[in-house]
Symmetry: C2
Subunit: 111 residues, 2 copies
Amino acid sequence: MPRPTNPLLHGTLDALILKTLTWGPRHGYAIARWLEETTRDEIQIEEGSLYPALYRLEERGLIAAEWGTSELGRKAKIYRLTTRGRAQLREDTAEWERFTAAVSRVLLPAR
Amino acid sequence: MPRPTNPLLHGTLDALILKTLTWGPRHGYAIARWLEETTRDEIQIEEGSLYPALYRLEERGLIAAEWGTSELGRKAKIYRLTTRGRAQLREDTAEWERFTAAVSRVLLPAR
DNA sequence: CTGGATACCTTGACAGACTAGGCTTTCGGG
DNA sequence: CCCGAAAGCCTAGTCTGTCAAGGTATCCAG
């Protein structure tokens, strides 16, 4: 039973990527693996979503890329969080908390 | 300063509408007003999102419509939750809880 | 040598919220 | 009496962002 494509991810992926990079620079493929592991496969990161997201973030100056080498010795594009990215993450996180709190007030009242 | 269009809403609007109708039948306009009030304006329901969403839900048999009269005596389309809608809401809510829990594990670790 | 994992990239489709209009009716104020 | 705002509903088109499905190249195991 494959998980249906998840519209809930809309808008949160960027923040998830930024947060991942707070633990240190990583290449794209590793970011996806780490996210899936951390969310216990609850959130699947498709490569067709991942790479466009990385470009978006780089273009906005929130992350910076540099070609390097993966742990396994492969060529890989290593991303790191910029100062602006760190600030954006704070904003995104706050926004996300406000939003989920609002939805919870509707969906899960009296808990 | 208008709030930028919120991609986070993607996918949650349907559940919010269904949940609203668990408190009794309402017309579209009232659903939007109730949601904005309950979320303290945190979530703005645009009519361009609302009405298409209502059609979607009606087409899926999750809500049912009937022309009637609003509290102010105006002509209004009154929606009520169907049995299938109630079941869908349970699923959507569970899905939403799983998803937000996963995101929280990433975004808000060690809390 | 074949298949799978690692790693990156891209095109096109699609879903869904939003913009920006439009319509009618009612009501209150000037 | 007129005008504007609020109550209600509707929709065509745009935009954003995820996804499916392809592609490339390298390396290693069997």
